[in-house]
Amino acid sequence: MSLTKVDAFDASKYWQLSDMVSLRDEEFGALAYHHVNRRLVFLKSRELVDVVRRLGDFESADDAITALVAPDQHDRYVAALATLEKSALISGR
C-alpha cells in the first residue's frame, strides 16, 4: 500500500458537480449517483444539496459554502465536499 499522502482537499480552488453524476432530490437531502464509478452517495442536508448544485457558480468551494451555509458549519461542509471529491462526484474545471 502506497504511503504517499494524497493531496488534501483544497477548498480555495474551483469545484463543480461532475457531469457524470445524477442528483435526485429526496425528503431530507438528495441521492447522487456517479454513472462511471457506480458510487451511490446520500447527501443528508438540503444545504449540502444546494452547495453541490451551485458549486460551479462560485470561484471556490469556500465561497460557495460561505454564501450558502452558516459560518459555524463551514468546516463540516468542507469535509463533506472532500468526501465527495474522493468518489469523484465533484471535480475541478
Binding site: S22, R24, D25, E26, E27, F28, L31, Y33, H35, R38, L40, F42, K44
Partner: protein, 371 residues
C-alpha cells in the same frame, strides 16, 4: 445512535423512487438451474411487448431511477434485448444484466463492448464444471467461461462473476478469487434463498452455520468483493459487511417481472408480496401507493428478535428466507448466526410451505448442446 443507523432508518421508511430495481425481462430460459429464484423456463405469453418495455424504461428514466438490474430467465433470449438495453442507456439509466453467458458469442461480445453504462454479470455456481453443472446443467460452466473469454477478447472491460453460496461453492472461495483475477473481473457472492425452485434444494444446499461464519470472515477481509448486500444477516457476527446492511424490498428496490407484476424483491415472487402491475397505471403509481409497500415502510417490529442484542445489526434477516421456510416475519432468520432460526424451524415442524408463484419451470429436463 451513529449516522449510519439514521440513514438506514430513513431508507427503511422508503424513498420517492427506488434507487435501483430488478427487471426480469422474460421467464424463458435455456437452462434449468435447480435453485432458480424465478422458477423460469417457459416464456409467459403475457410478456410485456417491446413498446410496453420501452414505455417502462421511459418511466424509469423520468423517475430518475439510476440503475436497472436486468435478469430473467435468460434476458438475452428476448429478440429485442439489445434494443431495450440501448434504449435504457441512451436515457442515462445504468444497466446491469445477469446472464448465463450462452448467448455471448464473439459478435454479441463486440456489440456489448460498444455500449456505455453497461455492466454484465455472468452466473456460475462452482469453480469448476463438475460443481457448477450439478446446479446449472451439463455444459453450462463451459458456456459461461466462453462468454468470459469472448468479453475479454472484445475488450469489454470489467464484468462481474456471480456465484450463489451453497454448501459446495462456499468451499471454493479462493478459487473464485483466482478466477476473477484471471479475467480482471469483479467477484460477486450472493445468498442462496429458498425462493422459486430454490425451496426444493434449500435444505440440502444452504451453507452450514460454520460455513457461514467462515464466509463472513472471508468477506470481511475483502471489502472489494460484491455481495448485493445479501449477507447482512451475518453482520450480527461483528463489524457490518459492505453495503447498506438492510432489507431493501419495497423501500429502496423492487422487482418488475416479465408480465409487469411488481413484487417487493426478486426473492419473493408470490402473491403475498405482489404490489401491483405496471400495465394500466404505470410503475410510479405502484411504487408510491401500493398497500404492500406502505406496510413494508412502516417501522419494523423485532418480534422474536426483540430480546437479542444483535437485532440492530441484522434487522431480523431476510423476509424471503423466512417466508419460504414457513417461518413468520416475526421469527428469526432461518440462518440466524446464533441458531435462533434453526430452533424456530424445529419448534414449528413446518410441513406445508408457501411456494413461489407463478411457476414457469419446464416440464422436461434441459440438455445444453456443447459447441
Amino acid at each position: 445512535m451513529g449516522a449510519e443507523s439514521t440513514l438506514r432508518n430513513r431508507f427503511e421508511r422508503g424513498l420517492a423512487a427506488p434507487i435501483c430495481l430488478t427487471w426480469e425481462l422474460t421467464y424463458a430460459c435455456n437452462l434449468a438451474c435447480t435453485h432458480c429464484l424465478s422458477s423460469s423456463g417457459r416464456r409467459d405469453p403475457r410478456e410485456l411487448t417491446t413498446n410496453e418495455a420501452k414505455a417502462l424504461i421511459d418511466e424509469i428514466a423520468a423517475m430518475q431511477i439510476f440503475y436497472v438490474n436486468v435478469g430473467g430467465g435468460e434476458p438475452m433470449i428476448r429478440r429485442d434485448f439489445f434494443e431495450l438495453i440501448e434504449h435504457a442507456v441512451n436515457q442515462h439509466v445504468g444497466v446491469k444484466f445477469s446472464t448465463n453467458g450462452t448467448r455471448i458469442d464473439r459478435d454479441a461480445a463486440k456489440r456489448l463492448a460498444g455500449i456505455d453504462y453497461l455492466d454484465i454479470q455472468i452466473s456460475i455456481d462452482g469453480a469448476d464444471a463438475s460443481t457448477s453443472d450439478r446446479i446449472r446443467g451439463v455444459g453450462s460452466y463451459d458456456a459461461a467461461r466462453r462468454a468470459m473469454d469472448n468479453l475479454r477478447n472484445a475488450n469489454f472491460g470489467q464484468f462481474k462473476i456471480s456465484i450463489v453460496m451453497t454448501k459446495e461453492s462456499v468451499e471454493q472461495l479462493d478459487d473464485f478469487e483466482m478466477l476473477a483475477k484471471t479475467y480482471g473481473a469483479e467477484l460477486r457472492l450472493t445468498r442462496l434463498r429458498p425462493s422459486g425452485r430454490g425451496v426444493e434444494v434449500w435444505n440440502e444446499l444452504h451453507p452450514t452455520l460454520e460455513q457461514n461464519r467462515g464466509l463472513y470472515q472471508w468477506l470481511l477481509a475483502r471489502p472489494n468483493v460484491l455481495t448485493g448486500d445479501s449477507f447482512f444477516h451475518l453482520s450480527a457476527l461483528g463489524s457490518p459487511l459492505e453495503g447498506l446492511n438492510l432489507c431493501g424490498a419495497g423501500r429502496v428496490v423492487c422487482l418488475i417481472d416479465p408480465v409487469g407484476d411488481v413484487y417487493a424483491c426478486p426473492f419473493v415472487i408470490h402473491d403475498e408480496f405482489l404490489a401491483g402491475n405496471v400495465r394500466g397505471e404505470g410503475f410510479a403509481a405502484v411504487w408510491t401507493s401500493s398497500e404492500l409497500f406502505r406496510s413494508l415502510r412502516e417501522p419494523g417490529n423485532p418480534g422474536a428478535c426483540a430480546s437479542c442484542g444483535s437485532f440492530d445489526a441484522c434487522r431480523g434477516g431476510c423476509m424471503a428466507a423466512k417466508f419460504f421456510t414457513g417461518l413468520e416475519m416475526s421469527d428469526p432468520d432461518p440462518e440466524c448466526v446464533f441458531g435462533h432460526g434453526e430452533a424456530a424451524l424445529a419448534a414449528k415442524h413446518v410441513s406445508i410451505r408457501p411456494r413461489s408463484s407463478p411457476d414457469h419451470s419446464r416440464r422436461v429436463p434441459v440438455t445444453l448442446s456443447s459447441r
